[in-house]
C-alpha cells in the first residue's frame, strides 16, 4: 500500500516538474520575460537605496543591518544600515535604507 502511495506522490511531483518545464520552454520560444513563468524572482535596484524583489519571497532573518530573504531559487543576503522593509505583499518586497552589500546563495 505504501509503495502505491509513494508512486502516486512521485507521479504528481514529476507531473508538476514537467508542467514547469513546458511553461519555461513556451516562454523561451516566444522570447517572453522569464519572470512570467513564476519560477524566478525579478530584482530591481535604485542606486543603493531601494531594492524591489518581485516574485515569491519570504523573510528569513531581519535585523537593522542585515536581511536574509528567500527568493524562489536563491537566498539573498543584504547588508547595510537602517534597513527597513517598506512594503510586503504576496507579489513583492521592497527594502529601503543604505545597502552596502548583496550576496546570493543557492538553495
Amino acid at each position: 500500500m505504501d509503495k502505491k502511495k509513494n508512486k502516486k506522490i512521485f507521479n504528481r511531483i514529476n507531473f508538476k516538474k514537467s508542467m514547469n518545464n513546458a511553461k519555461e520552454n513556451f516562454i523561451d520560444i516566444l522570447n517572453l520575460p522569464k519572470e512570467l513563468s513564476g519560477n524566478y524572482s525579478k530584482i530591481t535596484m535604485i542606486e543603493n537605496n531601494e531594492l524591489l524583489i518581485e516574485g515569491e519571497t519570504s523573510v528569513v532573518d531581519y535585523y537593522d543591518n542585515y536581511i536574509k530573504i528567500k527568493c524562489s531559487n536563491i537566498f539573498m543576503q543584504i547588508d547595510g544600515y537602517k534597513l527597513k522593509i517598506e512594503e510586503l505583499s504576496n507579489i513583492e518586497l521592497l527594502v529601503s535604507g543604505s545597502i552596502v552589500n548583496i550576496s546570493f546563495q543557492n538553495r
Binding site: S58, V59, V60, D61, Y62, Y63, D64, K84, I85, E86, E87, L88, S89, N90
Partner: protein, 391 residues
C-alpha cells in the same frame, strides 16, 4: 508626507510593536494571511515595529498564537480614529446630521430667479407672472413643469417672441428674446407690398395677400404689387398684412468717354523747396517757380490758433515732372472701361440693391472717332424691390 500614506490614512492605520523570538516568521505569516504590513523596522533584537490597516488587526491574534509573540498598538492614525473620538458627543453628531439634511433639502427649493435678455419687459413683470402661476422664491422644485411655465409666460408677455426656462440647482433661469420694433409694428398693421424701384417683374412670392401684377410686367416705382387683401369664396374681402417678396430685372448703365491719347507723368528728379503761411485758409508762399514747368506739390504744415484765427506755417516741396504722351489700343480702352464699370458696380450699384444678382454684362460703343471713343457698359441685375407700407 506621501500621497499613498494619506490615502491609507482614510481607512485608519495602526502602528504595532511585536515582541518575540520569531519575528521573521511573524512577517511571513502576515504575508501569507493577506495582512498588508509596511514600514517594518527592527527596534532591537526580537522587537519589530510596523504599520498596518486597523481593520486587519484582529487577524494578528492567530499569528501571535502561532509564533508566541506579543503585539501591542503604539499609535492610531487616520480619519476613522479622529471621528471615533467624538462618537459619544451625540449633540454634535445630531447637529452635523441635521446640517447635512437641511443643506440637502434646501437644494430642492428655488432661492433665486434670474431673468436675462429683457430690456422692455421688467424683471418685476416676469416675477409677478411667475408668482401668479405659483412659482416664487422658496417654492419646491419638485413638481414644477418648465414647459407649463413657458406657456404661461408666453400667454402673459406679448412683447416676447421666445422664452426659455431652466432650473439650474437653486436658480430659476428665465431667458427672454423680445420682439423688435419692426416686428411689433408689423404685427398690428394691415398693408401692401410696393416696389421701391421700377423694372420688369421677374418673380413674385406672395406669402400673404393677393398679387395684382404678373411676372413680365413692367412696373413703375411705388406701385402695389402684393395687395394686403384676401378675397374669400363668399366674395368677402379680408384686410391682412401683405407678406412676400418681389424681384425685378433692371438695367444699370455705366457710360464714359476715353481718348486714345493718354499722358503719363515722368518725374525729372529735380525738386524745389519753399515756405509759406496759411491764415484762415488763405495761402501765401514764396513763389520762385518757373511757370513753363509742371510741378507736384507736397505740403507740410503746423497750426497755431490765435484769437480765433488759425495760422499755419507751411513747408512746400515741388517735384518737377514732364508729361509723356502714349496711345492706347481699342482693346486696352475696352479693358479699362470694364474695370471702371466693375468698380462702379461694386461701389455704387450693388450696395444700394437687396438680394441682387448680376445676370448679364454687355459693352457697346456709342461714339467713335480718331481721338476718342464713348462706351456704355450695361449690367442686367435681378433684385428684390418689395417693401411694406401700412394703410
Amino acid at each position: 508626507m506621501k500621497l499613498n500614506d494619506e490615502i491609507k490614512n482614510i481607512y485608519g492605520i495602526v502602528e504595532v510593536e511585536v515582541e518575540g523570538f520569531f519575528t521573521e516568521r511573524y512577517i511571513n505569516l502576515c504575508r501569507i494571511n493577506n495582512v498588508s504590513v509596511w514600514d517594518i523596522v527592527t527596534k532591537s533584537n526580537g522587537i519589530i515595529i510596523f504599520k498596518m490597516f486597523a481593520k486587519d488587526f484582529k487577524k494578528l491574534r492567530a499569528i501571535n498564537r502561532k509564533t508566541k509573540c506579543k503585539s501591542k498598538i503604539l499609535k492610531k492614525k487616520g480619519v476613522y480614529f479622529n471621528y471615533f473620538r467624538y462618537r459619544k458627543r451625540r449633540f454634535v453628531i445630531i447637529l452635523v446630521a441635521l446640517f447635512l439634511v437641511i443643506s440637502i433639502i434646501s437644494t430642492k427649493f428655488i432661492w433665486k430667479i434670474n431673468v436675462t435678455g429683457n430690456s422692455k419687459i421688467s424683471d418685476e413683470q416676469v416675477i409677478d407672472v411667475l408668482r401668479n402661476y405659483g412659482v416664487h422664491i422658496g417654492k419646491c422644485v419638485l413638481g414644477i413643469n418648465t414647459r407649463d411655465i413657458v406657456k404661461n409666460l408666453r400667454a402673459s408677455l406679448e412683447d416676447a417672441t421666445w422664452i426659455g426656462v431652466d432650473i439650474d440647482g437653486v436658480t430659476l433661469d428665465v431667458e427672454i428674446v423680445e420682439k423688435t420694433t419692426a416686428q411689433m409694428e408689423a404685427k398690428y398693421q394691415n398693408g401692401d407690398i410696393l416696389t421701391s424701384k421700377a423694372g420688369t417683374i421677374s418673380k413674385i412670392v406672395a406669402e400673404n395677400g393677393t398679387p395684382i401684377s404678373n411676372v413680365g410686367d413692367y412696373i413703375e416705382k411705388d406701385r402695389i404689387v402684393i395687395e394686403g387683401k384676401i378675397y374669400t369664396r363668399t366674395n368677402e374681402i379680408l384686410d391682412v398684412e401683405a407678406k412676400g417678396s418681389v424681384f425685378v430685372e433692371n438695367e444699370y448703365v455705366f457710360s464714359n468717354t476715353y481718348s486714345y491719347k493718354q499722358f503719363n507723368k515722368k518725374y525729372t528728379g529735380k525738386e524745389k523747396y519753399s515756405i509759406g503761411v496759411d491764415i484762415n485758409n488763405k495761402e501765401k508762399y514764396i513763389n520762385y517757380l518757373d511757370k513753363s514747368l509742371k510741378y507736384d506739390i507736397i505740403k507740410n504744415s503746423s497750426d497755431i490758433k490765435l484769437f480765433g484765427n488759425t495760422i499755419s506755417f507751411c513747408s512746400y516741396k515741388f517735384l518737377i515732372y514732364e508729361l509723356e504722351e502714349y496711345y492706347l489700343s481699342k482693346e486696352e480702352i475696352m479693358d479699362m472701361a470694364k474695370s471702371d464699370a466693375k468698380n462702379f458696380l461694386y461701389n455704387d450699384i450693388l450696395p444700394n440693391c437687396k438680394d441682387a444678382e448680376v445676370l448679364t454684362e454687355d459693352i457697346e460703343v456709342t461714339y467713335e472717332d480718331e481721338e476718342k471713343i464713348s462706351l456704355n457698359v450695361i449690367y442686367k441685375i435681378n433684385e428684390e424691390v418689395g417693401y411694406f407700407k401700412g394703410r
